[in-house]
């Protein structure tokens, strides 16, 4: 029974000391400790949120960069393709132009050659005709000096003409 009978003295000290301890600790220990702990928790949470936001921003930015890169690549492709097309067109145009020019040159050259040839032939014909007139004059002077020879020639020409006709 003695064990479960609270002695008044100890009861008094217990109430007094525990009361004081609760009051002092509440005021000078728990309040600052819990305050700074929750403050720290808040700051950690804030930092985490900020980091998360930054990460999201970074992700968004890198996605933007990628898009930009993609666009740039596409643009480059287009530009390259255009350049290639232009080059091909140029080359083809140049080739065609060169061909026509060459052909034109060739044609002119051929015409020139033909003209020259014709001129040469005409000249030759004229010279031959002159020459033959001279020759004929000369022969005629030689052969048709006499009457008889003139008759013989007329005959012969007549004959030849007949022959030529047939």
């Amino acid at each position: 029974m003695e064990l479960v009978t609270p002695p008044i003295g100890l009861l008094f000290w217990m109430c007094l000391s525990f009361g004081i301890v609760v009051w002092l600790l509440a005021k000078y220990a728990w309040k600052p400790i819990l305050g700074s702990v929750s403050q720290r928790e808040r700051s950690i949470e804030d930092a985490l949120n900020e980091a998360k936001k930054m990460r999201e921003d970074m992700a968004r930015m890198s996605a933007g960069n990628e898009e930009l890169m993609r666009q740039a690549r596409e643009e480059r492709e287009v530009m390259l393709k255009e350049a290639r097309d232009i080059r091909d067109q140029e080359i083809a145009g140049a080739k065609a132009k060169a061909k026509t020019e060459a052909e034109a040159l060739l044609g002119r050259a051929r015409e020139d050659i033909r003209n020259e040839k014709n001129a040469a032939i005409t000249e030759m014909k004229n010279q031959v005709a002159e020459l033959s007139v001279i020759v004929a004059e000369t022969i005629l002077r030689e052969k048709l000096g006499s009457e008889a020879a003139q008759h013989a020639l007329v005959d012969k020409v007549m004959k030849d003409a007949d022959l030529r006709k047939s």
Partner: protein, 401 residues
């Protein structure tokens, strides 16, 4: 003590296992009756023979009676030793016949009285009457009584003992320790701001957070827990530190404060007051007229609920008290086995043979008590939180049980 003597007064034959068990059981049985036996013994010794002439001669006679001649070793009495260890004392026993006197503070109907407890006993640790300013005092089984000069109890004198006993001194020391540790910790926080804790705070902060998050917040709820947190934190660390102090057997520690009825009584009473005053109308309606219960059942239920309001703190008190006291008793029982089997020094073999087992068990129980000490602090705080939680829980949302 008769059973006890029978158990120890057997033959000196080598001890078989059976006999060992038999002795243990008898001893444990004897422990159960030890307090009553002690009380009887006290009654027999308590009031000295009134035919003795003076108080001094009474003491001398008393001493001779107990000691025999020339300091013959006292007969070992495990029950008495254990009860002395778990009980309170007016002086702090260190070793042998050396003890540290503690201040005795008495309130009497004639005024306050203050002296050292060393005056209440002689060099052999036997009570001697002490002449105070108002009365003559005699320490009888750790109870200070006012006596007449002839040694008989002064029935008319009124006195209340406010002495700083071993428990009271430990209590105050523990309070100072808590204040120093936690106010120091708070100062560290003020200096370092929001950076991580250092030193002792590094160890204590998780416990503080555990009490806050897993005890207070989960049992009381987000809305109300902050009001009660300072009390709950103090409660937890108070009980835990005193439990641990009680487990250290050497000098500045070892007082069984939480295993004394006063500590759990006061703590449970504070919990009861908090619950009673913090309770809202939902709580009282649940007690006096539980919603949705027919009137006929309420006739039975309401008294049960009202009783429950008082029984819960009582159970809280008994749980802490019984757990810690039982822990101390079991520890001491295993330790005392050595002296019981050595038959008060007669059988050295018995003593040596028992000591390894007794020590192993003592160490085991001590480790267990370390756990129990923390566990009981947790349980007390948790149950207090739960009682407060039911008292402040609002509305219909919280009342689905």
């Amino acid at each position: 003590m008769a059973t006890f003597a029978a158990a120890n007064g057997g033959t000196l034959a080598p001890m078989s296992l059976k006999r060992l068990l038999y002795n243990t059981f008898l001893f444990l049985g004897a422990l159960c009756v030890a307090p009553f036996a002690m009380a009887q013994e006290g009654a027999a010794h308590g009031i000295p023979d009134s035919t003795e002439a003076t108080a001094h001669s009474t003491a001398t006679a008393h001493e001779e009676e107990a000691h025999g001649s020339a300091h013959a070793p006292e007969k070992f009495n495990a029950g008495k030793l254990i009860m002395e260890h778990i009980g309170d004392a007016h002086s702090w026993h260190l070793w042998g016949h050396t003890s540290l006197p503690l201040p005795v503070i008495l309130w009497t109907d004639k005024g306050m009285e203050c002296f050292s407890s060393g005056k209440l006993m002689d060099e052999h640790h036997h009570a001697v009457p002490c002449q105070g300013a108002h009365y003559t005092y005699l320490l009888e089984h750790e109870k200070i009584q006012a006596v007449h000069t002839d040694g008989s109890v002064n029935e008319t004198a009124k006195l209340i003992d406010f002495s700083l006993t071993k428990n009271a001194a430990t209590l105050i020391a523990a309070c100072v320790l808590l204040l120093v540790v936690f106010i120091g910790m708070a100062r560290g926080y003020a200096q370092r701001g929001v950076s991580a804790p250092k030193g002792l705070a590094k160890f204590l902060e998780p416990i503080v957070l555990f009490v806050r998050d897993d005890i207070a917040k989960s049992a009381i709820g987000e809305k109300h827990y902050k009001r009660f947190l300072p009390y709950l934190l103090t409660l937890f660390f108070f009980i835990w530190s005193l439990n641990l102090i009680g487990l250290i057997p050497i000098f500045p520690f070892g007082a069984n404060v939480t295993g004394n009825i006063v500590t759990p009584l006061v703590l449970a009473a504070i919990t009861f007051l908090i619950v009673t005053f913090a309770a809202n109308r939902h709580y009282w309606r649940h007690i006096f007229a539980m919603p949705g219960i027919p009137a006929a059942v309420l006739v039975i239920l309401t008294p049960i609920e009202i009783m429950g309001h008082f029984i819960r703190p009582i159970v809280l008190m008994v749980r802490l008290f019984a757990n810690i006291m039982a822990g101390h008793i079991v520890l001491l029982v295993f330790f005392c086995l050595i002296f019981i089997f050595s038959k008060n020094g007669e059988s050295l073999i018995g003593g040596y043979a028992t000591s390894p087992f007794a020590l192993a068990f003592t160490i085991f129980i001590n480790c267990l008590e370390l756990l129990v000490g923390a566990l009981q602090a947790y349980v007390f705080t948790l149950l207090t939180s739960i009682y407060i939680g039911t008292a402040v829980a609002g509305g219909h949302d919280d009342h689905h049980h």
